[in-house]
């Protein structure tokens, strides 16, 4: 079967043959593509990016992301948790906004509040 590697913008076209653990992956420019194909066929993962509400009038939304990846099927559930958050204290890139969401943290990908300048 054919799949597109989504690890980086190269978007390698992977050709996958075999079944289960015994698969062969061709077409990847780097080893990450081979790992991607294995994960994609067993337990696909995705990183999730979004925004959360803030109490700061000049920066009403704070961009966030999952630090690692979460199961592909859990994106909508993770979004429901993200939507419930409202940031009231100043935060900067990398701060944890929501801990332990499907095995990873939701972290800030921007600054907001006093350090927003």
């Amino acid at each position: 079967m054919e799949m597109i590697c989504i690890v980086c913008p190269n978007g390698c076209r992977l050709e996958v043959t075999g079944t289960g653990d015994d698969i062969t992956v061709t077409g990847a420019l780097c080893p990450k593509g081979v790992d991607f194909a294995h994960t994609e066929l067993t337990a696909p993962l995705r990183s999730l990016t979004s925004t959360v509400a803030t109490a700061f009038p000049l920066v009403p939304r704070l961009p966030v992301k999952t630090r690692g990846e979460i199961p592909k099927g859990k994106m909508h559930e993770a979004m429901a948790q993200i939507r419930a958050v409202r940031v009231t204290k100043p935060v900067k890139v990398g701060d944890v906004i929501l801990a332990d969401v499907f095995g990873t943290d939701i972290i800030a990908t921007g600054n907001a509040g006093e350090v927003a300048a």
Partner: protein, 421 residues
């Protein structure tokens, strides 16, 4: 015109997106006194609203979101204490005796700056609904993908509950996913051409992951609704983009989102009457990123629309280096610079458009193929005994830009890019 004396700088950088930030840092590090001018309140340009990831793999060897990439560039810029003015809009640029007089408008009034060199880093703009031919009413609810992105990511407001996306550019694909995650229904993405415009990975992770259909060779032909979009008509098209009778379908929706391409923002290049390349739609430059106006440099998306911010930063650094060098050793445009030759049938575009053999900057050449081709060799002849560059590409597609850096000096009597078997 204000009466106050103009403040003097070596280099004025116009625009504080990734190109302008990199250019300002690079010009500063190469000894120039720099002022960065930005029309918005915050630095970062369009990256401020790019909350999605896939940025920085080349520049930082990490997968960052657009906002993280911007913050790193902003932090680096501020650490160097380079002068910056925000909420300032350039209204006039006058060449004077070997310098430029730049007038800006801001809430504080008009300001004048005198500088030796200018770096244009004003980015690109989205094509609007007026630039694509759509019949029907002009109700509320027709947005460019970038406008929808601004509403959702910066303001936290949903511009639609159920929408159709016209055009398969990357921002449209990214917004299809973003709107779906925020609870909207994206009925489908409609692309007039027979191949998607965006990156393959975005088709996969933004559409396929969310079961959003992509309809190729199909376009929106009519918009319905008086106050607000109520529906759109879509039709399949033939090879000449003419609607095929009997394929018309009316889709109920409250918004039509356009992702129909980006164009360099050439308002300032036009103000300076700079020659524009019809292929890139940006100003013509040599390998130092200098335009045909001596001392005016350009970088990033104003030159041509890049698909990675990383390349925008690379060209910003080159422009910054060159502008700083120009301030200590001014030069004029070399009328003997060699014009780039290539077959329009093979390449959508290639730049820099000129190679100046007397300039010391190494050449980084950017190109896009016109067609989706496999196993083709691309060769660059710079007049040396050997080709300056030659590589067989497994695959070349128009939506994915290629870049080539040539470090070795060459005579530059020839500057020709060819595609062959």
């Amino acid at each position: 015109m204000p009466n106050s004396a103009a403040e003097k700088y070596d280099v004025l950088v116009l625009g504080a997106g990734p190109g302008g930030l990199a250019a300002a840092v690079s010009a500063h590090e190469n000894g120039a006194r720099v002022l960065l001018v930005e029309r918005e309140r915050k630095l970062g340009g369009i990256l401020k609203q790019c909350v999605h990831d896939g940025f920085g793999l080349m520049r930082f060897k990490e997968r960052l979101t657009g906002t993280e990439y911007a913050q790193r560039e902003i932090d680096r810029f501020h650490a160097l204490n380079i002068d910056v003015v925000t909420e300032s809009f350039v209204v006039d640029i006058q060449p004077t005796d070997g310098t430029y007089l730049v007038t800006t408008q801001s809430a504080a009034g008009m300001c004048r700056y005198e500088c030796k060199a200018i770096i244009l880093a004003c980015g690109c703009r989205e094509r609007t609904s007026r630039q694509v031919f759509i019949h029907g009413d002009r109700p509320a609810g027709i947005f460019s993908a970038g406008t929808a992105q601004y509403f959702v990511n910066i303001q936290g407001k949903m511009p639609t509950k159920k929408c159709v996306i016209l055009g398969s550019g990357d921002i449209g694909l990214i917004m299809a996913r973003r709107l779906t995650l925020e609870g909207a229904e994206v009925v489908g993405v409609y692309e007039i051409k027979d191949a998607p415009a965006g990156l393959s990975r975005n088709i996969s992770q933004c559409l396929n992951d969310f079961d959003i259909p992509l309809h190729l060779s199909t376009t929106v032909t009519e918009v319905f609704g008086q106050e607000r979009v109520e529906a759109v008509a879509v039709e399949q098209v033939d090879k000449n983009f003419q609607p095929i009778p009997g394929t018309r379908q009316v889709i109920d929706c409250d918004a039509l989102i356009l992702s129909v391409g980006l164009l360099p923002e050439i308002e300032l290049p036009n103000m300076l009457a700079l020659p524009i390349d019809p292929a890139t739609k940006g100003p013509v430059v040599d390998q130092t990123m200098m335009t045909k106006a001596a001392g005016v440099f350009a970088c990033g998306n104003v030159l041509h629309v890049n698909d990675l911010a990383d390349w925008v930063s690379v060209s910003g650094e080159a422009a910054g280096r060159s502008a700083a060098a120009y301030c200590t050793a001014p030069r004029t445009w070399n009328d003997n610079a060699t014009a780039l030759q290539y077959e329009r049938g093979d390449f959508l575009y290639a730049l820099p458009q000129y190679f100046d053999p007397t300039a010391s900057e190494p050449l980084t050449l950017y190109f896009r193929s016109r067609e989706d081709v496999a196993g083709k060799r691309v060769t660059l002849d710079l007049g040396g005994e050997k080709a300056a560059f030659s590589k067989k590409y497994r695959r070349l597609i128009p939506s994915e830009m290629e870049a080539v850096t040539v470090k070795e000096a060459a005579s530059g009597t020839v500057y020709q890019l060819t595609m062959h078997n």
